[in-house]
C-alpha cells in the first residue's frame, strides 16, 4: 500500500513539475494544481495510513495516538487545500488579465524569439 501511494505522489509531482516548465499559462495552472495534490498527499502521509482508525473522539474521551488518526497533518492539509484554492483563483485571474493585455497566453507575455 505504501508503495502505491508513494508512486501516486511521484506521478502527481512529476506531471506537475513537467507542466510547470511549459510555456502556456493554462498548463501552468494545471501543473500547480497537480503539484499541490502531490504535496497535500505527501503531508498527509506524515500521519501514515491508519485504515479504520476513528478520526473523532468519544465524548469526554481522550485519544490514544496509536488507535486514532493523526489529526495534525489533517488540519495542516485542510488549510493547505483552502489556500491552494485561493492561489489558484488568484493565478487564474492574473492569467486572464495577462491574456487580455498581451493578447496571448505565453507565460512571458510573448513567445520565445
Amino acid at each position: 500500500m505504501e508503495l502505491v501511494l508513494a508512486i501516486a505522489i511521484g506521478l502527481l509531482a512529476g506531471s506537475g513539475v513537467w507542466l510547470l516548465m511549459r510555456p502556456r499559462t493554462f498548463q501552468l495552472i494545471i501543473g500547480l494544481s497537480l503539484l499541490s495534490y502531490a504535496v497535500n498527499l505527501f503531508i498527509f502521509s506524515m500521519g501514515r495510513f491508519p485504515i479504520g482508525a476513528p478520526p473523532i473522539l468519544a465524548p469526554g474521551g481522550q485519544g490514544d495516538p496509536a488507535s486514532f488518526a493523526d489529526p495534525l497533518p489533517q488540519s495542516l492539509v485542510l488549510t493547505a487545500i483552502v489556500i491552494g484554492f485561493a492561489t489558484t483563483a488568484l493565478f487564474l485571474v492574473v492569467m486572464l488579465a495577462a491574456r487580455g493585455l498581451t493578447r496571448g497566453d505565453h507565460v512571458d507575455g510573448r513567445p520565445r524569439q
Binding site: L3, A6, G14, P55, L78, F85, L96, R99, D105
Partner: protein, 962 residues
C-alpha cells in the same frame, strides 16, 4: 549627569537646529541667527567639557543600547577629542557668519543651514564617540551630509558629479573602516574606545592586525584624500565656498586624520604602519603641492594644497615617533585656521569680482586692500613664513624628518630632501595665490567691479588670521595648553617634552626653512611666464587623471559589469526561472540526503488494497493525461485534473480523514467551475501536427528528465518516510486535550479553531485578501478583442437547455443551505466546520448561477460578499479580542454544553463563534471570486463594438452591490 547633559547637547543640538532650520521659511537673516546660536551653544558645550578636563576629569556618557552585541551609545571627551570638537564648533560659528553674507537670496537657504548643522552634528559625533561602531555610524553620516552639501547646487552638473564622487569614495572607505573596526572589536572583545585603547599590545601582536590596519587605513585615507584617493577633493570644490571652507579645512577631511591619530597609540609603532602610511603621505604631500602650483582656479589651488597638507600630516603620523605625533596634531590645528581663512578669502574674491581664475585676476590689492592683507598673512602661514603658526609646525616637521633620516632605510633617508622640496612647492603656490590675485596692474574686465565685502563677511577671516599670528608669535601661551591636553590624551605618560618656541637658534631646520622660502620664490619667478600663459593641465603629470580613472571604474562596475552579470545570471523567462527553482530544490534535497542515503524503512508494509490501487491507477493515468493534454485540449485537461482531485479525495476518505475529503471535494467543485469560467477568455489553440524543431524537442526532453527525477525523488522520499515509524510528535497533545480543553471531539476542527486559531485567522485573512485582489483585478479586466464577442454556444435560442437539471438545482438550494448550516454547527464534534460549511454554501450559490444564468440570479438574489467577508473577519477577531477582555491571551476559547433536551447537547464553545467567522469569510470570499468571474460574461455581452475592448468594460459591478 552633568557630563551627560553637555556631551549630549554638543552632538544633538546641531541636529535639532538642522530640523528646525529645515522647517523655517527662507529668511537668510533668521536662519543664520539660528545656525549661529546653535553653533555657539555647541561651542559653549565644548567649553564646559574643557572645564571638566581642566578639573582632571574625563567627561563621558554611556547609554547601554544592545550591550550583548557590544553596542552602546557612548560619548567621551578627552583632550584630543575636545581639541577637534573645539575646531569643529568654533570654525562652524565662523562659517555660519560667513555664509550669511556669501549665500545668495535665490538659493534655498533653509536647506543649506539644515545640512550644514546636520553635518556639524555628525562631525561632533565622530570626534566625541566613545564606541567604535558608533564612530563609524557618524562617520558615514558625515559622508552623507557632505554629499548633500557638495551637491547643494543641484542644478549644476559639476556639483552633482562632485558630490557623487565624494560620496562614493568616502562612503566606500567608510565600509572598509567598518569592516576594520569589526575586526578590531573582535581582537579586543569590545568596541568601547577605552577598551581598545587599553589593549595596544594585544592588537599589534594579533594575526588579524594587518587586515584590520589596512581596512581602517583605507577608511582614513579615502576620507582624508590621500593618494590614490585624492581625486575626489578637487571635484568637491563645486560646493558653495563656505562648505568648502568648512569641509576641507577643519572637518570632513580631518576626520581621517582624527581617526589615524585616535588609534595611533594602538595601531602605530609597527613596520606595517610606517610602510603603508609613509609612502602614501609622501606622495600625497609632493603630488598635491606640485599640482597646486598649476591650478588657475583659486579654490582648486587651495584644494590641492589641502591634499598636500593632509599628506604632510599623514607622513608625520607614519613616523612612529611621539614628537612627530605632536607635530601632526599641531599642524592639523594650524592648517585648519589658515586654510579656512584662505578659502573664505577666495570666496570673497569670487563673490566680489565674479571669478576665481587667477589668470584673469590682478591688482585686487587696490580695490580690496583689507582682504588682500588678510589673505597675504594666511597664505604666508601656509607657506611657513616665520612668526606665523604654519612656520612652527613646519619647523617641527623638518626636525622630525632630520631625526628619522638617521635610520638606514632609503625611505627614511630621503625624507629631509622631500620635506624641503615640498616646502619649496608650498611657497610657490602660496606666492601664486597672493601675487596672482592681488598684485600686478588692476584689471577692469572682471564680471563685477571689485570692492571690499560687507564688514561682517570679513570678520571670520579676521578672527582666523588673528589666530594665525597670535599662535605664530606666542605659541605656548595660546595653543600650548590645548595642544598639551590633546597630546597627553593620546600619548599619556609617554608624552615627550617638546618646545613650542618660535626661535630655536640657528639650526638645520631653520636653514631648510630659509632654503624653502628662497627656493619657492625662485621657482615662482621661473614658472611665472608658463603659469600666466594660460595653459591648462599639469606639466609632466597630465596623465594622472583621477576622475577619468574613477569614472571608468564606475562605468565598469555599475554598467558593464552589472550588465554582464545580469546577462550571465538573470533571465526574465519564467520557464527558466521555474526550472532553476525546481533544480535547486532537487539539489538541496540531494545534498541533504547525501550523507544518509535514502533507504526504505523497516516497518511492516500494509497489504495492497485493490480499491486504492485501482483508484490510483486511474488517478495517476489522469494526472499524466492532464499533463499531456493541457496545451491543446484545455477542457479535457480540466476534466482529467478533476478526476485526479477525486482520487485524492477518495484517498482521504479511505484513510480516516473525513474533513479533508469534504473540503477537497468542495474545493474541487469550486476550482473546476472557476477554471471553466476562465476558459472562455483563453485564446483558441489548434494543434499542429509534427510541431517542434530539434531544439524544442531537446528542451522538452530536458524538462521531461527534470520532471521524472522530481517525481521519482518525491516518491522515494515518501516511501522512505512511510516505511518508518511515525515519531511521537505533538499529535498526542492534541488528542488528549481536544475534548478536555477544547470541548470538541472532532480533533481536526478543534486544532483549526482553537489550538491553532491564530494560524486560521491568518489564513482566512489571506483568503479575504485574495478575494479582494481578484475583485480589484477584474474591475479593470480587458479581454483580448477576439474573446469579446458572444460565444457560439450562447447565441441563438439556448434558453431551454438544461431545463430539468436547472429545476432540480433550484429545488436543491434550500437543502444545500440547511446542510451547510448543519455542517457548520456540528463541526466541533463531527466532520464539518466553518471551512466546509462556507464552501458548501458557496457551492449552493454557484449551482444557482449555473441553473439560472448570471442575469437571473443577479435579478433574484442579493449576495453581499464583501459584507459577509467583513462580518466574518470581525467575528473572528472579535472572538479573539473577547478573550483578552476576560484577561486571557488572544483567542483563548471557552466552552460549555447547552442541554437542549430531546435535541441533544449543543456545544457552546466560543470557538464555535470563531468558526462562524471562518464560515462567513470563506463563503464571502469564494462567492466573491466566483461572482466577479461569472459577471464578466454578462458585462462583455453588453460590450458590443468589439474593437476597443477598453470601452466595453468600464463599469464593474458585483451582483447586487450597486
Amino acid at each position: 549627569m552633568h557630563d551627560a547633559i553637555y556631551l549630549l547637547a554638543a552632538v544633538l543640538l546641531p541636529y535639532l537646529g538642522a530640523v528646525v532650520a529645515a522647517l523655517l521659511p527662507a529668511n537668510a537673516r533668521l536662519l543664520a541667527w539660528l545656525a549661529g546660536c546653535v553653533a555657539l551653544a555647541t561651542l559653549a558645550m565644548v567649553g564646559l567639557g574643557f572645564a571638566a578636563i581642566e578639573a582632571g576629569g574625563l567627561p563621558r556618557f554611556d547609554l547601554a543600547w544592545a550591550p550583548e552585541l557590544g553596542l552602546s551609545f557612548s560619548l567621551r571627551m578627552d583632550g584630543f577629542a575636545g581639541l577637534f570638537a573645539f575646531m569643529v564648533s568654533g570654525i562652524g560659528v565662523l562659517i555660519v557668519l560667513y555664509a550669511r553674507y556669501y549665500m545668495s537670496p535665490e538659493d534655498p537657504i533653509p536647506r543649506f543651514f539644515a545640512f550644514l548643522l546636520a553635518f556639524m552634528g555628525s562631525m561632533m559625533g565622530v570626534v566625541l564617540s566613545g564606541n567604535l561602531i558608533q564612530l563609524v555610524f557618524f562617520w558615514e553620516l558625515t559622508s552623507l551630509f557632505s554629499f548633500l552639501l557638495i551637491g547643494y547646487w543641484q542644478n549644476v552638473a559639476a556639483a552633482r558629479n562632485g558630490a557623487r564622487m565624494a560620496l562614493t569614495v568616502t562612503a566606500g572607505g567608510g565600509l572598509a573602516l567598518f569592516a576594520g573596526v569589526l575586526i578590531l572589536g573582535h581582537i579586543v572583545g569590545s568596541y568601547e574606545l577605552d577598551a581598545v585603547l587599553a589593549s595596544g599590545e594585544a592588537i599589534r601582536a594579533h594575526p588579524l592586525y594587518l587586515p584590520a590596519l589596512v581596512l581602517i587605513l583605507l577608511g582614513a585615507m579615502t576620507k582624508s584624500a590621500q593618494f590614490p584617493f585624492h581625486f575626489w577633493l578637487p571635484h568637491a570644490m563645486a560646493a558653495p565656498t563656505p562648505v568648502s571652507a568648512y569641509l576641507h579645512s577643519a572637518t570632513l577631511v580631518k576626520a581621517g586624520i582624527f581617526l589615524m591619530a585616535r588609534l595611533w597609540p594602538v595601531l602605530a609603532g609597527t613596520d606595517a604602519w610606517f610602510n603603508i602610511l609613509c609612502p602614501v603621505g609622501l606622495i600625497t604631500l609632493l603630488l598635491g603641492a606640485y599640482v597646486a602650483i598649476f591650478q588657475h582656479d583659486m579654490k582648486a589651488l587651495l584644494a590641492y594644497s589641502t591634499i598636500s597638507h593632509l599628506g604632510l600630516i599623514t607622513l608625520l603620523l607614519s613616523l612612529n615617533s611621539d614628537l612627530a605625533m605632536v607635530a601632526a596634531v599641531f599642524h592639523t590645528v594650524n592648517h585648519a585656521t589658515f586654510k579656512a581663512s584662505l578659502f573664505m578669502a577666495a570666496g570673497i574674491i569670487d563673490h566680489e569680482t565674479g571669478t576665481r581664475d587667477i589668470r584673469r585676476l590682478s591688482g585686487l590689492n587696490e580695490s580690496m586692500p583689507f582682504t588682500a592683507r588678510l589673505a597675504l598673512v594666511a597664505a604666508a602661514a601656509m607657506a611657513g613664513v616665520p612668526l606665523l603658526n604654519g612656520f612652527i609646525s613646519k619647523e617641527m616637521f623638518f626636525s622630525e624628518a632630520l631625526t628619522v633620516a638617521t635610520a638606514t632605510s632609503v625611505l627614511h633617508g630621503i625624507l629631509p630632501v622631500a620635506a624641503t622640496l615640498a616646502s619649496i612647492l608650498a611657497v610657490t603656490y602660496s606666492l601664486r595665490f597672493i601675487h596672482g590675485a592681488f598684485f600686478g596692474p588692476p584689471v577692469d574686465d572682471l564680471p563685477k567691479q571689485p570692492h571690499e565685502p560687507p564688514q561682517f563677511m570679513r570678520v571670520p577671516v579676521e578672527v582666523l588670521v588673528f589666530l594665525c599670528i597670535v599662535v605664530g608669535i606666542l605659541p605656548s601661551a595660546t595653543i600650548g595648553p590645548l595642544l598639551d591636553k590633546a597630546v597627553r590624551a593620546l600619548l599619556g605618560d609617554a608624552t615627550p617634552s617638546y618646545s613650542l618656541a618660535v626661535w630655536h637658534g640657528f639650526n638645520l631646520p631653520l636653514a631648510m626653512s630659509l632654503v624653502a622660502l628662497a627656493g619657492g620664490i625662485a621657482l615662482y619667478r621661473l614658472l611665472y611666464r608658463h603659469l600666466n600663459a594660460g595653459l591648462e593641465g599639469t606639466p609632466l603629470l597630465g596623465f594622472l587623471d583621477g576622475r577619468r580613472a574613477f569614472e571608468q571604474v564606475m562605468v565598469f562596475i555599475s554598467w558593464r559589469f552589472a550588465r554582464a552579470l545580469v546577462r550571465l545570471m538573470a533571465t526574465d523567462r519564467l520557464q527558466i526561472q521555474l526550472m532553476l527553482m525546481v533544480c535547486t530544490a532537487l539539489l538541496a534535497a540531494t545534498l541533504a540526503l547525501l550523507p544518509h542515503g535514502l533507504a526504505a524503512g523497516d516497518v511492516a508494509l500494509t497489504a495492497v488494497d485493490p480499491v486504492v490501487a485501482i483508484i490510483w491507477a486511474v488517478g495517476g493515468a489522469c494526472a499524466i493525461a492532464a499533463a499531456y493534454q493541457a496545451k491543446y485540449h484545455r477542457l479535457a485537461a480540466l476534466v482529467l485534473l478533476g478526476s485526479t482531485g477525486l482520487a485524492t479525495c477518495l484517498t482521504f476518505i479511505w484513510f480516516s480523514a473525513p474533513d479533508l475529503a469534504l473540503t477537497q471535494l468542495l474545493v474541487e467543485i469550486v476550482t473546476t467551475v472557476l477554471l471553466l469560467l476562465g476558459l472562455r477568455w483563453m485564446p483558441r489553440r489548434i494543434e499542429t501536427a509534427g510541431s517542434g524543431a530539434p531544439l524544442a524537442r531537446l528542451r522538452r526532453l530536458r524538462d521531461f528528465v527534470i520532471a521524472a527525477v522530481s517525481g521519482l525523488g518525491l516518491a522515494a522520499i515518501s516511501y522512505a518516510m512511510m516505511t518508518r515509524v511515525s515519531p511521537d510528535g505533538i499529535s498526542r497533545e492534541f488528542l488528549t486535550r481536544a475534548y478536555k480543553e477544547g470541548g470538541g471531539t472532532n480533533v481536526v476542527n478543534v486544532i483549526l479553531v482553537d489550538f491553532r486559531g491564530f494560524d486560521t485567522m491568518g489564513e482566512i485573512t489571506v483568503l479575504g485578501v485574495v478575494a479582494l485582489t481578484v475583485f480589484a483585478l477584474l474591475r479593470r479586466f480587458r479581454p483580448a478583442p477576439e474573446s469579446v464577442g458572444v460565444p457560439d454556444q450562447q447565441q441563438g435560442d439556448a434558453r431551454d437547455w438544461l431545463l430539468v437539471p436547472s429545476v432540480t438545482m433550484r429545488l436543491l438550494f434550500p437543502v444545500i443551505i440547511a446542510v451547510s448550516i448543519y455542517l457548520l454547527l456540528r463541526g466541533h464534534d463531527q466532520p464539518g466546520g466553518g471551512f466546509i460549511a462556507g464552501l458548501m454554501l458557496a457551492v449552493g450559490i454557484l449551482v444557482q448561477y449555473m441553473a439560472g444564468g448570471t442575469r437571473w440570479v443577479e435579478d433574484h438574489l442579493r449576495v453581499l460578499p464583501l459584507r459577509w467577508m467583513g462580518f466574518g473577519l470581525l467575528l473572528a477577531v472579535g472572538t479573539g479580542v473577547a478573550a483578552t477582555v476576560f484577561g486571557r491571551p488572544f483567542l483563548t476559547s471557552y466552552f460549555a454544553y447547552a442541554d437542549l433536551g430531546p435535541l441533544g447537547k449543543l456545544p457552546l464553545a466560543s470557538a464555535v463563534i470563531f468558526d462562524l467567522g471562518v464560515f462567513a469569510l470563506v463563503f464571502g470570499a469564494t462567492v466573491l471570486i466566483l461572482i466577479v468571474l461569472a459577471h464578466q460574461s454578462v458585462r462583455s455581452q453588453r460590450a458590443a463594438p468589439p474593437p476597443p475592448p477598453v470601452e466595453a468594460l468600464r463599469e464593474p459591478a458585483i451582483a447586487g452591490e450597486d
